[in-house]
Symmetry: C2
Subunit: 323 residues, 2 copies
């Protein structure tokens, strides 16, 4: 359904910028000095509150991160709330407070908003849309087209915390766990490494829905290079690995909301990694793979057991409402 | 409920820009040459298709108009769609086509998007959020603070078409009517009058939810001036007047989606009016009132019968999902 909607809308909106299919649009025309990034996301996560976050925190972090991975500094946020009639005021207060706190932490300002009410029974409690604007100085460029064999693949910590935390919070499995969503605004971390190594970063993307496997396949899919991952370097919590084993998930496909994949030049990778480790959201950063010439268009996993396997796009349906 | 949500979020997001409570945020910092306007709106209209429009056309026009009334030219649009699982592909195609056609007509480009699916029964078919960016050359300013007694109040045509068309399309009244929503992108009309009379326009706003009465009360509410309307100059279709009579509505409070209220200097009003009449969305433009010194903070109607009455903010609940 998700890709169906996307295909239908893409067919009708044939703009050059939209066709790039990045999560943010890069607008060069607005300012002489800055390149402006513009993005939007709707959040329908269920439940609204989960260990490590809530829909309000998520709606700020998700959109801030989409801007941040373009290399831009997020500045302004819009907030549009749709609420089911009769939704509890106390819960609304909690969500608003959480959004405001997260926006402050991220240093972005909520500058415009909209509020709609839908009759009871016509929607599930609360949906939030945020859109954001960010700026980067002209000349700071990243893009899949800059990636070359020999480049390094870096991630800023453990995979899968968000999706596991949300799933368990639904109570369908009656499993107790300490896993918390990794939901976090990454603009601080990303700005630090951009300052540290402005030319060394080729491309960044946040591995949300579909996880690291999907993001890397989106990067390599139409490219003249492949990506090779080292299984034993990929950071997965012991608890997450055990849960995945039990529930039949692969952590590579689990959604994250506080992670960024960075493709950097080989030379810059060490400096970027040590800079990342200084930041509260980068303590468990790792180099997890490298860009290779062959097989192009593919993501390959060098397993801990010494074999190699193809990491495909996720096939089949994804869980609804994890973000 | 609507104002409750607004109050809760405003209390938590105490930004200087948001506090102005305009429908768009005016961002001066991004560009040296341009002032950037940024706005967002979610659309939950029921039914999705109605005479004169549909949710897609509405989602483009409503947001384009919010940018346009700031004096800015809308350039870029985001489009975030939330769909109930199982929603008909054919209807989705129609909505996408309508959005695309309206965006082309308005000269705006859809540059970024998001698509979410919610389980069947957890929402009512289809909601759309659009956010937009527009630019105006620095120095072109409008604002309530520029309004002075003696200024003129202009509207670009008949009131209430949108709300009546949507209400009748719901089929609750089993009344047949030819009324079509006035849903239209007003950026062309507004840019024409800004070029014609750059210094003559004090303030513009689109009288959507709550209608002309609510918009004028929002303008005059905290001001040192009042607004006096001439009932016999206010354009209402005969058919709308008859329907309002029958259903117990006042056309002054009905939502419009292709109307703009312009407050202009007395000297510029004639030129603006004749320019408006040349445009397809301004043929029935009229001067409907003037700004007065007393009573300040009030909207007064000089009735056709020769009496005067106060036009208050709409009290009581508004109909849900008319936009």
């Amino acid at each position: 359904m998700h890709s169906l909607i996307r295909d239908i809308f893409l067919r009708h909106f044939k703009g050059e910028i939209l066709n790039k299919l990045d999560d943010s649009a890069i607008l060069a025309k607005i300012s002489e000095k800055y390149t402006v990034s513009f993005t939007t996301d709707s959040y329908t996560v269920n439940p609204l509150f989960f260990p490590g976050g809530d829909i309000g925190k998520l709606a700020v972090c998700g959109t801030v991160n989409d801007i941040s991975v373009t290399g831009a500094e997020p500045l302004f946020l819009s907030c549009s709330v749709i609420v089911e009639e009769g939704f509890e005021t106390a819960a609304l207060e909690k969500v608003a407070e959480s959004m405001s706190k997260t926006a402050k932490q991220a240093g972005v300002e909520v500058v415009t908003g909209d509020f709609k009410v839908v009759e009871k029974g016509k929607m599930d409690r609360l949906f939030i849309n945020t859109a954001a604007l960010g700026v980067s100085e002209k000349g700071v460029e990243t893009g899949i087209n800059l990636i070359k064999p020999g480049d390094m693949v870096i991630i800023n910590g453990y995979m899968g915390d968000h999706e596991l935390a949300v799933l368990l919070a639904r109570g369908d499995f009656s499993i107790k766990s300490d896993i918390k969503s990794d939901c976090a605004p990454l603009n601080g971390l990303i700005q630090n490494i951009l300052r540290k190594s402005p030319g060394g970063i080729r491309f960044m993307r946040d591995p949300t829905r579909g996880g690291v496997a999907t993001t890397l396949n989106e990067i390599a899919g139409n490219a003249s290079f492949g990506i090779c991952l080292y299984e034993k370097e990929i950071p997965v919590r012991e608890e997450s690995a055990a849960l995945c084993e039990m529930l039949g998930f692969d952590p590579l496909y689990l959604a994250n909301e506080g992670k960024v994949i960075i493709i950097s030049s080989k030379e810059a990778a060490g400096g970027i990694l040590s800079e990342m480790k200084k930041h509260r959201y980068g303590k468990n950063s790792r180099i997890i793979g490298e860009v290779v010439g062959q097989p192009s268009g593919r993501v390959i996993l060098n397993t801990a057991a010494g074999s190699r396997r193809i990491v495909d796009m996720l096939s089949g349906s994804q869980l609804p409402r994890i973000c």
